[in-house]
């Protein structure tokens, strides 16, 4: 696999690691509070609703719709220069949370309200990123 010189997750970070392990296996996994059931993203050590520490990891359906998106014609972070134009979306998941993610593929066909599903894109031997593609 080619060298990937863009921002990568810290796989040593225990709080986030289960998300990345799941992504490598093709699952979109986030935390759910074992006490109150609150779904939380991004990962944290404490439930922001009831302040219970820890939490269970649960798999989501990996489905949602585009709330909005931005199309980078200029790579504001130069390491992404080889990918412009690319789209990054705020996805409203069917489970009710919002998640930022890259649109897999060219940005021309993206629109607000579009139904999307998670796709799992390996970028290094260790890391697989969650991206989104139209599902309809």
């Amino acid at each position: 696999m080619m060298a990937y010189d863009k921002p990568l997750p810290d796989l040593e970070n225990e709080v986030e690691a289960p998300h990345w392990q799941a992504a490598k296996q093709g699952r979109l996994s986030i935390q759910r509070c074992s006490q109150c059931g609150y779904l939380r993203w991004p990962p944290e050590t404490i439930c922001p609703e009831c302040l219970t520490r820890g939490g269970d990891w649960v798999d989501l359906k990996g489905e949602g719709e585009i709330w909005s998106f931005a199309v980078y014609h200029r790579a504001m972070n130069p390491v992404f220069s080889d990918e412009v134009p690319y789209a990054v979306a705020m996805v409203r998941l069917t489970e009710g949370i919002e998640m930022i993610g890259r649109i897999a593929g060219p940005p021309d066909q993206v629109r607000i309200g579009q139904k999307v599903r998670a796709v799992f894109v390996p970028v290094t031997d260790e890391v697989t990123l969650v991206q989104w593609e139209p599902s309809a």
């Binding site: 921002p7 990568l8 991004p42 909005s68 931005a70 980078y72 504001m76 972070n77 607000i112």
Partner: protein, 377 residues
């Protein structure tokens, strides 16, 4: 507590803006303080409070450093870890009203352009995840927020363009402004996208510079040479849960800042003679025009396209050119301009009979603050 006209700004000072090579952020801050002290007709020994702003991505701008450089042992000092002028100003108001200090200098100085500070990083809660997805720079979330506004209300890119075009018209009358080249709406529309639907003029250019403000009690204010700018009302609120707040990019909680501001001050948008909105992106101007009630939510596009915020319009907005055309100073120069308008010091861009101004700031997607200032008590 009724804080109406209990405190006043009696000095404003700034350095040159743009590129100031070979100087530390703290040296720039000291020069701004010297300018503000001179403007207020006082010396450093007359100041007993110091409020500074830490620089983004450096350890400069801390009160311990600047107090040391200035040779000051103030009674009260503090440093904010972000630098939008209203937040410092409100801390100064609190220090004076509680008796912790009687005359406070507030300062922001930066060499972020010459030091090549990295603004490509993502901002706000969940920043790591955003960076991994390629959502770099505040331009990304701002572009998303504007596209959503377009989707909900039919706002056009050309309507948004009037933010930058109007501010450029104001900047042409401001010697301090960095960007003064004429720019028509056609020029704007002809420019390439940076992060669609936003173009270069929708985003600020990083600059070096410093701004300082002297705040004191209303009783003391009359002893200073310049006409005081009295603080009539302040309001703040946070959205620290960041991406846990649905729709957070639209920053609907700014409406709560506005509600608190108008109800506590007894004033309303029609009382405002000139408006200042911290414009890290043009989209923030659109959002705050609406949330502060200068037009209905969703009506900002047509409001701007009618030319109301241009020179000669009914709502002079960012009459210094704002950060988009004057200089990116975390909103501090917007605050300084508001004071100078109240004093009548603004030459060709002076707003006739400017007696009440509003300055609105935000800290990314996390905080909002606003202050009403007036030449009358």
């Amino acid at each position: 507590m009724d804080l109406r006209a209990k405190t006043a700004i009696v000095g404003v000072g700034n350095t040159a803006q743009g590129t100031l090579p070979g100087r530390s952020a703290n040296e720039i801050a000291v020069e701004a303080i010297q300018e503000a002290l001179a403007d207020a007709g006082i010396e450093k020994k007359d100041v007993d409070g110091l409020i500074t702003c830490r620089n983004l991505r450096s350890r400069e701008g801390i009160d311990e450093q600047i107090g040391h450089l200035m040779g000051l042992n103030p009674k009260y000092s503090a440093t904010l870890d972000y630098g939008t002028g209203n937040f410092s100003l409100h801390l100064g108001v609190m220090a004076i009203l509680t008796g912790l200090a009687s005359t406070v200098v507030l300062v922001y100085g930066t060499n972020q352009r010459s030091a090549k500070a990295d603004f490509s990083v993502a901002v706000g809660g969940g920043a790591d995840m955003a960076a991994i997805a390629g959502l770099a720079h505040v331009a990304g979330p701002a572009a998303m927020a504007f596209r959503r506004h377009q989707h909900l209300y039919g706002t056009t890119e050309e309507q948004l363009g009037w933010v930058s075009v109007a501010q450029r018209e104001w900047a042409q009358m401001n010697p301090l402004a960095i960007f003064k080249q004429p720019m028509s709406i056609d020029d704007y529309m002809a420019m390439d996208y940076m992060v669609a639907p936003l173009r270069r003029p929708d985003l600020t250019m990083i600059s070096d510079g410093g701004v300082a403000i002297i705040l004191t009690s209303a009783e003391r204010a009359v002893d200073h040479p310049k006409k005081p700018a009295y603080i009539l009302g302040i309001a703040e609120r946070t959205a620290l849960r960041a991406y846990q707040n649905l729709e957070n990019l639209m920053r609907p909680w700014l409406g709560d800042v506005a509600k608190q501001l108008w109800s506590s001050s007894g004033l309303s948008p029609k009382d405002i003679d000139a408006l200042y909105i911290q414009d890290a992106t043009s989209v923030w101007v659109l959002q705050m025009l609406e949330w502060y009630g200068f037009c209905e939510v969703g009506e900002g596009g047509p409001f701007l396209a009618e030319g109301r915020t241009r020179p000669g319009g009914s709502l002079p907005l960012n009459t210094n050119g704002g950060q988009l055309s004057e200089s990116y100073m975390w909103g501090w120069l917007n605050l300084a301009e508001g004071v100078r308008q109240l004093r009548g010091e603004c030459g060709p861009r002076q707003v006739a009979n400017a007696e009440v101004v509003l300055d609105c700031s935000t800290h990314d997607f996390l905080k909002g603050a606003a202050t009403i200032l007036s030449s009358h008590q």
